[in-house]
């Protein structure tokens, strides 16, 4: 039978190939497990994930998108790099206006720039990930609850993502705990700092009791290690300090210090279903971890929307169906897509890096992250500046 | 000891040596004469393996054509190049040390560093000075001594007297005789006929990439025609 193709446009070569490959495994597994094994949608149509290598380059991503559109594909998944996310959003908006017969929907599972659901929002873009604003809302909540924290240090990469974190952190802390002092606010060039030691020194010297960083990859490890080596002892709140070698590298040194704040969580398993799902994944891909639980939500909700519309080709209807959809997540709690900006609203977990009570460790190590704190339906009514042009409802 | 037969050599495409034949016996001083540019230096270089010769070059019966320069050197052939080649940034002593073969210790051969210093006291005075500041004559001494340090059985010396004052020339002549006395053969490339004729046992004259005369100094003196055609300006 025919399949419903979802293009997967991510770096599959180059420095970020593992991120791309992990995501691909997660998408394929989710499609298989959550849709195809249950008989597909619309009387037996299966989901097929078609990978494209964007080499982490906007231009290559646009070429890939073009190829996908030429192949008659109507959905594509993308998440790594908000910069490419912007390029793709703009391209999709242009394409859907210029070629109404070949429209395509953007399933964003990871590009976290708040602008994508604010000024740069698009009707054709849906985001299942919690964006920077939402995550920082959760982080500042967590900090606000700890009365003994008086000094917070911000260290981030010098680009829009890092700056968005700074803005959201400052906003959140000022509103929730005006008594907290921001003792350091560092922006460093992304991927260019060889030795983070001076930053570790600054953190220690500032007397900070909590650190907030949005760094990822080697920059994340650099900040974490240098702070711990320099003698810093407090919590480090991060957005993406799990798996991909990071968990293993931190090991014992990061225990109970590294916090990862995100939607979805593996430990403790939310339900039997989540446990089974995760175990299945680990068995099938022993080298990878589920690092983007939201992919399962995206797949399930897309399948539901297509089923309800009764067609996979009528993307306008599918998009309208997704707007405002409420869904029981496999990871517990609900997922709700805000109609005004297409951002998913869901539970956010404050998870700690540890080796205690871990059912599903990461990086084939003993360590993993465990949920310590939940913020229900975070940022449900945050304001948005999104003004999207909507096509006529068919 | 050294037997060169029909040796040819090229620089790129220019055919410089066009069949050279030479013999050097043990303990002999052989002079190689000729005008500028006839290929005398090239002959030395070809024997030394600096450029690959065609034909046969035998040293103590062993074919050495095609061998690498360092292999040839280790077999016992020393070469004093014409443009001195004092190594930048090294002192006189260090230059001499480099003359030693890998693994060889000072004093284990026919010549020790002290011998050299005894012969040329200027060198001893300047032993720890950077060698490139030495005068031209001293540099010439140094290159000769450097090669002798490696204890060769045959030395090829290219224009040792070039740019030297008369009394230095005399010293070089003495050194050459000393070399012969210690049982080392010498191939001497010279322009100054008088010295060559004084100390050489045998003489070869080269012209246009070939040997055009072979004989004793006395014989050469007889041959007005050879001198006119191949040696004079």
């Amino acid at each position: 039978a025919e399949t419903i193709k979802i293009a997967y446009i991510e770096p599959l070569s180059g420095p970020f190939a593992t991120n791309g490959n992990t995501g691909l495994a997660e998408w394929q597994y989710a499609a298989e497990r959550l849709v195809n094994e249950k008989g597909g949608v619309l009387d037996g149509m299966k989901f097929e994930i078609v990978p494209f290598d964007n080499k982490l380059d906007s231009k290559e991503a646009l070429i890939a998108l073009q190829v996908a559109i030429d192949q008659g594909i109507h959905y594509f998944a993308h998440g790594l790099s908000s910069g490419i996310g912007h390029a793709l959003t703009a391209a999709v908006t242009k394409n859907n206006a210029r070629n109404p017969e070949n429209r395509i929907l953007y399933l964003n599972y990871s590009a976290e720039d708040p602008a994508l659901v604010n000024d740069a929002c698009s009707f054709w873009h849906f985001r299942w990930d919690a964006d920077v604003d939402i995550r920082l809302d959760a982080i500042t909540d967590a900090i606000a609850q700890q009365q003994d924290i008086k000094k917070v240090f911000l260290i981030n990469q010098d680009y829009s993502f890092g700056k968005a974190i700074v803005a959201a952190a400052e906003r959140g802390l000022a509103a929730k705990r005006p008594d907290i002092e921001i003792v350091g606010n560092e922006l460093h060039p992304i991927g260019k700092v060889k030795d983070f030691t001076p930053y570790g020194r600054k953190i220690v010297a500032s007397g900070a009791q909590a650190v907030i960083t949005g760094n990822w990859g080697p920059d994340m490890i650099g900040v974490g290690k240098s702070a711990i080596d320099a003698g810093y002892d407090g919590p480090i709140y991060t957005i993406s300090a799990a798996s991909l070698g990071i968990t293993r590298t931190f090991g014992a040194a990061g225990k109970d210090k590294i916090h990862v704040v995100s939607e979805g969580h593996l430990n403790p398993p939310a339900s039997e279903r989540a446990k089974e799902y995760t175990a299945g994944f680990e068995a099938k891909y022993p080298d990878y971890d589920i690092i983007q639980p939201r992919i399962a939500n995206a797949v399930e909700m897309l399948a539901r929307a297509i089923e309800e519309v009764g067609s996979a080709e009528d993307v306008v209807s599918v998009a309208y169906k997704l707007e405002g959809m409420e869904h029981d997540s496999i990871w517990g709690g609900k997922v709700y897509i805000r109609p005004d900006n297409h951002q998913a609203i869901q539970d956010i977990h404050d998870q700690v890096h540890t080796d205690e009570g871990i059912t599903f460790p990461l990086d084939n190590s003993e360590y993993g992250t465990i949920s310590r704190n939940v913020i229900k339906m975070a940022s449900m009514d945050a304001p948005t500046t999104c003004k999207m042009e909507r096509p006529e409802r068919p | 000891m050294l037997e060169v037969r029909d040796m040819h050599a090229y620089y790129g495409k220019s055919h410089i040596l066009q069949g050279v034949n030479l013999d050097i016996h043990a303990g002999e001083i052989v002079a190689l004469l000729g005008r500028n540019g006839v290929g005398r230096s090239t002959t030395c270089k070809a024997i030394m393996g600096d450029l690959t010769p065609m034909g046969s070059v035998k040293f103590n019966g062993m074919q050495i054509a095609g061998k690498k320069a360092y292999e040839i050197s280790r077999l016992g052939i020393g070469y004093v190049p014409e443009n001195r080649d004092i190594f930048l940034g090294l002192t006189t002593r260090q230059n001499l040390i480099l003359g030693l073969k890998p693994g060889q210790k000072d004093g284990s051969g026919r010549w020790s560093m002290q011998d050299m210093f005894n012969m040329f006291s200027n060198l001893e005075e300047r032993a720890d000075v950077e060698a490139t500041v030495l005068s031209g004559g001293e540099q010439q001494m140094l290159t000769m001594c450097r090669t002798l340090m490696g204890d060769p059985n045959l030395v090829m010396i290219d224009e040792p007297t070039e740019g030297l004052s008369p009394q230095m020339v005399q010293r070089v002549a003495e050194l050459l005789q000393e070399i012969a006395k210690r049982g080392v053969s010498t191939l001497l490339v010279e322009q100054k006929l008088s010295i060559a004729l004084d100390i050489a046992h045998r003489v070869y004259v080269m012209g246009h990439g070939k040997v055009v005369f072979e004989g004793t100094p006395a014989e050469l003196k007889e041959r007005e025609d050879v001198r006119k055609e191949w040696l004079e300006v």
């Binding site: 420095p15 190939a17 593992t18 991120n19 010098d158 922006l187 460093h188 060039p189 991927g191 260019k192 700092v193 060889k194 030795d195 030691t197 001076p198 930053y199 020194r201 600054k202 220690v204 010297a205 990859g217 080697p218 490890i221 650099g222 290690k225 080596d229 320099a230 003698g231 991909l244 070698g245 293993r248 590298t249 090991g251 080298d287 990086d363 190590s365 | 030394m48 600096d50 690498k68 320069a69 360092y70 050197s73 280790r74 070469y79 190049p81 080649d85 190594f87 930048l88 940034g89 090294l90 260090q94 230059n95 040390i97 480099l98 003359g99 030693l100 073969k101 890998p102 450097r146 490696g150």
Partner: protein
């Protein structure tokens, strides 16, 4: 102030790390005239080899075994790759090392994948040796500082005291004459390339745990090493040392400062524009020194090259 002392130590640490890399590169350049673009790739190989070995035999075995392995690999590449390309001239040689850097990175990814390796310092050096204020100085860093000092002294010894050093230096001016004195120059070239890359390997083994072992580690350090030896003067070991330390302290100082360019602008009597977010100069007003720290060495290099094309201690143009 404490922080100044700490930054001096940190800068020394980073500078000496750079030096270990640039020493090998300088050695190779001064001897063979090759700007080896793949140098940082050998550094990366050192870290990966040592990591792999440490899984079975521990850190110290890695430190002992990995650099010679890298050196042998380097020597083989010289013998079968570079020597062949050498005859085509300098540009192809350079392009060859450029391509080699690419290839090595791909091979590393093929074998070890893209993730950061969990390569760790040895347990016995994982403690704070002493404290300055509330900041702790890790024993491992001190160990690294001493190792690279030892390498510098060793290299200086080899270059100036031993016959090999003499041969290397002499072959710089007249390789053919050196060969005619009975020294096997091609073999020495191979050896020098091997030693140079092995030095890069040592740097990798030592830096891997503290700066991270991942496929991008070569790229991150690759061009800065060039900047170092160009600033120091191509071919000068002392120049490489001084430039490494300068860059080490410069970047550390920049990263640890909190200088805002707005201060400078205000000092010159300028006032920030009223609506900063709309102004064309907004980026200048919000700029701080740590933001541009990593590019300071490049600015420094351009200035040096414009004013003094041979670098600080260089004798000649490449």
């Amino acid at each position: 102030m404490d922080l100044v002392a700490i930054n001096l130590i940190d800068g020394l640490f980073y500078g000496l790390l750079l030096f270990m890399l640039s020493a090998g590169l300088t050695l190779i350049f001064s001897m063979m005239g090759i700007l080896n673009f793949a140098h940082a790739s050998f550094y990366m190989l050192g870290a990966y080899f040592a990591y792999q070995i440490s899984l079975y035999l521990g850190f110290w075995a890695g430190l002992l075994i990995a650099p010679p392995l890298v050196g042998v690999l380097g020597a083989l590449i010289e013998r079968y790759g570079l020597r062949r390309v050498h005859q085509f001239g300098h540009v192809p040689e350079l392009v060859f090392t450029f391509g080699l850097a690419w290839l090595i990175e791909e091979v590393v990814k093929f074998i070890w994948g893209n993730n950061m390796m969990a390569y760790q310092e040895p347990e016995i050096l994982k403690f704070a040796l002493f404290h300055i204020g509330s900041n702790s100085i890790q024993a491992y860093k001190v160990f690294m500082i001493f190792t690279s000092m030892a390498i510098f002294i060793g290299l200086l010894f080899i270059l100036t005291r031993t016959r090999i050093g003499l041969i290397i230096q002499a072959a710089l001016s007249y390789p053919k004459t050196v060969e005619a004195l009975g020294h096997n120059v091609p073999l020495i070239f191979m050896g020098v390339f091997g030693v140079g890359t092995a030095l890069a390997g040592v740097a990798g083994v030592l830096a891997g745990p503290s700066l991270g072992t991942f496929p991008g580690m070569a790229v991150v350090l690759g061009s800065i090493v060039f900047v170092t030896i160009v600033i120091g003067g191509l071919g000068s070991l002392w120049g490489a040392l001084i430039a490494s330390l300068l860059i080490g302290w410069m970047t550390t100082a920049a990263a640890s400062s909190s200088f805002q360019f707005a201060t400078l602008l205000e000092f010159f009597g300028m006032t920030p524009p009223a609506d900063l977010d709309e102004s064309y100069l907004r980026d200048l007003w919000t700029l701080s020194l740590p933001q541009i720290g990593p590019i300071l060495p490049y600015i420094f290099m351009i200035l040096i090259l414009v004013l003094r094309p041979y670098g600080l201690f260089g004798k000649r143009d490449a």
